[in-house]
């Protein structure tokens, strides 16, 4: 009997130890359950920071799922505002939700955005036997009958994946965007299976989500939403060159608590830059379909503010915020 009890005690002690170890190590909060983009950001950046000697101990990754990142955001603002050893994974979803007031009253200026060091280019994809050969074919079909094309994406209605085709349609002069069908499923791979299965006519998502399916030839990408064609995927045309001036890149980066000193902020900016410049990160980006997208330090904050204002306008139009 004693053995079991001790075992139980030991297990809980081990678990508490793991949780408590964050006291002395750098901590990276992934504001979602393991398995998503934020988790990837924390684990990759955390691993590389240690491997290239920017931090002394392995970075402790904490998964703090809740409210689409809002729980982590409000926890950082309320409880960890001056913690200089804390970084938090962020992406376009963070700014989209801040713009849509999805984190309650939280605003982007309550934390400091350190930078983005990679971007997952937005893509619009169809099944290989789709009648659409170009983005224009699809846009014209939607203009003729908005109900004829349904999109599947990995975010909820109003999320970043939903915004991408709407931005393209707006750029094409189509304004009845609430008539466009969109279903939000569990992630990009799920959205692809729905599209390959013929339940939806197109998938909107990130490049990293479609790499395997493009290689196996089950889907065709109609457009990538970047300034230039993506290295390694040169045969996929940009939306821009097809006449739709839309750039939508799901950047991967970090924010830190708002109350840390400028010196500490600069320290994190330098470390992040070091990760961006490392071969390990370039390898990780290539393997996961990320394109170089580096904006670190003060400029990044200005860029973020612009993105948030833009997203808020579009969100108002489709009715996800008043």
């Amino acid at each position: 009997m004693k053995l079991t009890f001790l075992k139980a005690l030991g297990t809980s002690a081990a678990i508490s130890l793991m949780a408590a170890s964050s006291v002395w190590a750098t901590e990276c909060i992934a504001p979602a359950n393991p398995g998503g983009g934020w988790d990837f950001t924390c684990r990759q950046i955390g691993k590389i920071l240690f491997d290239i000697g920017q931090v002394d101990a392995p970075v402790q990754v904490t998964n703090m799922a809740g409210a689409g990142g809002g729980l982590a955001f409000s926890t950082v603002v309320a409880e960890r505002n001056e913690d200089a050893d804390l970084i938090v994974a962020a992406s376009s979803a963070t700014t989209t939700r801040l713009a849509q007031k999805a984190f309650g009253d939280a605003t982007a200026d309550q934390v400091r955005f350190v930078g983005a060091i990679g971007g997952d280019p937005g893509v619009i994809v169809v099944a290989k036997d789709s009648p659409f050969q170009s983005l224009t074919d699809m846009v014209e079909a939607i203009k003729a009958d908005p109900a004829s094309v349904a999109f599947a994406g990995g975010s909820a209605a109003g999320g970043f994946d939903h915004m991408k085709p709407l931005q393209v349609l707006k750029a094409a002069g189509f304004n009845d965007i609430t008539a466009v069908k969109y279903i939000g499923v569990d992630g990009g791979a799920d959205a692809i299976t729905q599209t390959v299965g013929g339940f939806t006519q197109a998938m909107t998502g990130d490049m990293s989500e479609i790499v395997g399916f493009i290689k196996s030839g089950e889907v065709r990408a109609l457009a990538v939403l970047t300034e230039e064609r993506v290295p390694g995927f040169e045969d996929i045309p940009t939306a821009k060159e097809q006449g739709y001036d839309v750039v939508a890149v799901n950047w991967r980066g970090l924010y830190v608590p708002g109350g840390i000193s400028d010196a500490d902020f600069q320290k994190w900016a330098d470390r992040l830059q070091a990760v961006a410049d490392s071969d390990e990160w370039k390898e990780a980006m290539a393997a996961n379909g990320l394109a170089p997208f580096t904006k670190v330090g003060g400029d990044f904050q200005t860029w973020i503010d612009g993105v948030i204002a833009e997203t808020a306008d579009l969100s108002r139009e489709i009715g996800v915020i008043q």
């Binding site: 009997m1 053995l3 079991t4 009890f5 075992k7 139980a8 297990t11 809980s12 678990i15 508490s16 793991m18 393991p34 398995g35 998503g36 988790d39 684990r43 691993k47 392995p58 402790q60 998964n63 703090m64 799922a65 809740g66 409210a67 689409g68 809002g70 729980l71 849509q100 999805a102 984190f103 309650g104 349904a150 909820a156 209605a157 109003g158 999320g159 069908k181 969109y182 279903i183 939000g184 499923v185 569990d186 992630g187 791979a189 799920d190 692809i192 299976t193 729905q194 390959v196 299965g197 339940f199 990293s208 989500e209 395997g212 399916f213 290689k215 196996s216 393997a287 996961n288 996800v320």
Partner: protein, 501 residues
């Protein structure tokens, strides 16, 4: 044969002293993690991820360790289901229904051995099926759209009637409460939150693990306090532990059928192990009929869900490896590990990285035999847990539950919510309302609603779309039969016997 050369490659990767050692460690840790309420396979694997990185394990070794933990936890979940009436993780929920009555009848050892062997059969067949047909089977996912998934969930709820309770109305009430709880959180189709009262902690909805630990473990504590331990679940009598060969032989078809159904449930990304164990239990209950004694300690009622959920665990690896679509919480975590190791699962994984795929399959086979060896002869060790006086055991279980739930999100709110579920579970017990349908409602409600609304979006509100494909139609027919057949057959059958508590 290509299969054998592939397997040879796999075993070549997996059969090193280090990986064998990791498999044993993983299986042992997994069994313990699975048996502890609140700690399931998904957080068990998640907790170990940083350890694999700090040990500097390569891709194959890391995968061997983590999948051994995964399979181990699927085995371990049954132990606390049977001994304590508290499921160690969500797929083990159905095992409480007959496993615990068996333990109460003094057959705890038999229940553990039968469920251990059933787990082995389910997991082994699923792993073999994974090796043989994974690339072809992945195509099934393409056949399931919103209408088909909705019909599948409808089938699950249609067969709920009478489960774990003599009163169907109470089972229905419980499942509606579960479905209601599932509505809390972000409405995926409008982008707004619902029923959260502005609380950020609720905007992702209620985690079913919080509900399970609250409804089962915490409510157990309340009953224990009320009765000073007299009518509490813990402290069952112990029989002699032998291998019940006769019972094992009797359940051979149950195990095979359940493995097949569980595997298919696992392959469907929206279904997973919980649905697998539920479906197999209801199927076997239906086959056995009213005289099968389901709910009062039937051996088939223990074998079916365990074969089913372990087969589903193997099945869930099919869409994860071939499509990159995680079929369950744990495979989502494994997917994250693969991505961190710069391996991107998807349609080309089998041809791009055969070493990883076949190394994984070989290590699953190894883990499975290790687990059988660990779980059957070592049953005595686990049964010894029964000898701990409830006054020591229950506080320990409670403490672990709290730590486990806190480790999920690191939020105190979940702990409060868990206690609230405990109070609810206590009240339900007093009113003889079954708690399993509540969990099922929470587990499946979100996906069920989402798929219904997706179907309506795609069809422009045309309800006939739900019945428009052959797969959906067949599932609906099965659902209607499952729901109405007992109603019409009741007069010809004996009334189910009251379960003596």
């Amino acid at each position: 044969m290509e299969l054998f050369s592939n397997l040879a490659l796999g075993f070549g990767v997996a059969l090193s002293p280090l990986t064998l050692f990791l498999a044993v460690v993983g299986c042992f840790l997994g069994t313990i993690i699975g048996a502890l309420p609140g700690l399931g396979p998904s957080n068990g694997v998640a907790i170990l991820i940083p350890i694999t990185f700090s040990l500097g394990l390569d891709a194959t070794a890391a995968l061997v360790l983590l999948t051994s933990v995964y399979y181990g936890a699927m085995y371990g979940g049954r132990i606390s289901s049977i001994l304590l009436n508290i499921p160690g993780d969500e797929p083990a929920m159905m095992t409480t229904l007959d496993g615990y009555p068996m333990a109460k009848n003094g057959r705890a050892g038999d229940a553990l051995v039968i469920s251990g062997v059933a787990s082995f059969v389910g997991a082994l067949l699923a792993t073999l099926a994974l090796a043989l047909v994974a690339p072809y089977l992945a195509r099934i996912a393409y056949k399931f759209g919103p209408a088909e998934y909705f019909a599948l969930y409808a089938l699950a709820f249609a067969t709920l009637g009478g489960m774990a309770s003599n009163n169907q109305a109470k089972a229905a009430l419980a499942s509606f409460i579960g479905l209601g709880i599932a509505l809390i959180g972000l409405d995926n189709n409008s982008g707004f939150t619902r029923f959260t009262g502005g609380n950020l902690h609720l905007s992702d909805g209620v985690d079913f693990l919080v509900a399970i630990v609250g409804l089962f473990a915490v409510s157990e504590v309340f009953v224990f306090i009320e009765t000073h331990g007299k009518s509490s679940a813990v402290g069952v009598k112990l029989g002699k532990v032998t291998v019940p060969w006769k019972d094992l032989w009797e359940t051979r078809w149950t195990m095979l059928r359940s493995s097949a159904v569980g595997f298919i449930a696992g392959v469907l990304p929206g279904a997973g192990a919980s649905l697998g164990s539920f479906m197999t239990y209801m199927m076997e209950k239906g086959i056995a009929g009213e005289n099968g004694g389901f709910g009062s300690g039937a051996i088939k009622g223990v074998a079916a869900p365990e074969a089913g959920n372990n087969a589903a665990a193997g099945g869930a690896l099919v869409p994860m490896l071939t499509l990159g679509v995680p079929g369950s919480g744990t495979t989502a975590v494994l997917l994250a590990v693969l991505m961190t190791l710069n391996i991107t699962p998807g349609p080309t994984l089998f041809s791009d990285r055969p070493d990883v795929v076949w190394g994984l399959i070989a290590s699953l086979l190894i883990a499975n035999f290790v687990l059988l060896a660990m779980n059957v002869p070592m049953v005595k060790v686990f049964v010894k847990i029964l000898m701990v006086p409830p006054a020591v055991l229950l506080p320990a279980v409670t403490m672990i539950s709290f730590v486990g739930i806190y480790s999920l999100s690191g939020s105190y709110f979940d702990l409060v919510l868990m206690i609230a579920f405990g109070v609810m579970g206590y009240a339900f017990r007093k009113m003889d309302i079954p708690t399993v349908p509540v969990i099922l409602g929470i587990l499946l409600g979100y996906q069920m609603e989402n798929n219904l609304r997706h179907a309506m979006t795609l069809s422009g509100g045309e309800w006939t779309y739900l019945f428009s494909s052959p797969i959906a139609a067949v599932l609906w027919i099965a659902a209607f039969l499952g729901f109405f057949a007992p109603v019409f057959l009741r007069r010809y059958l004996k009334k189910p016997q009251l379960i003596e508590d």
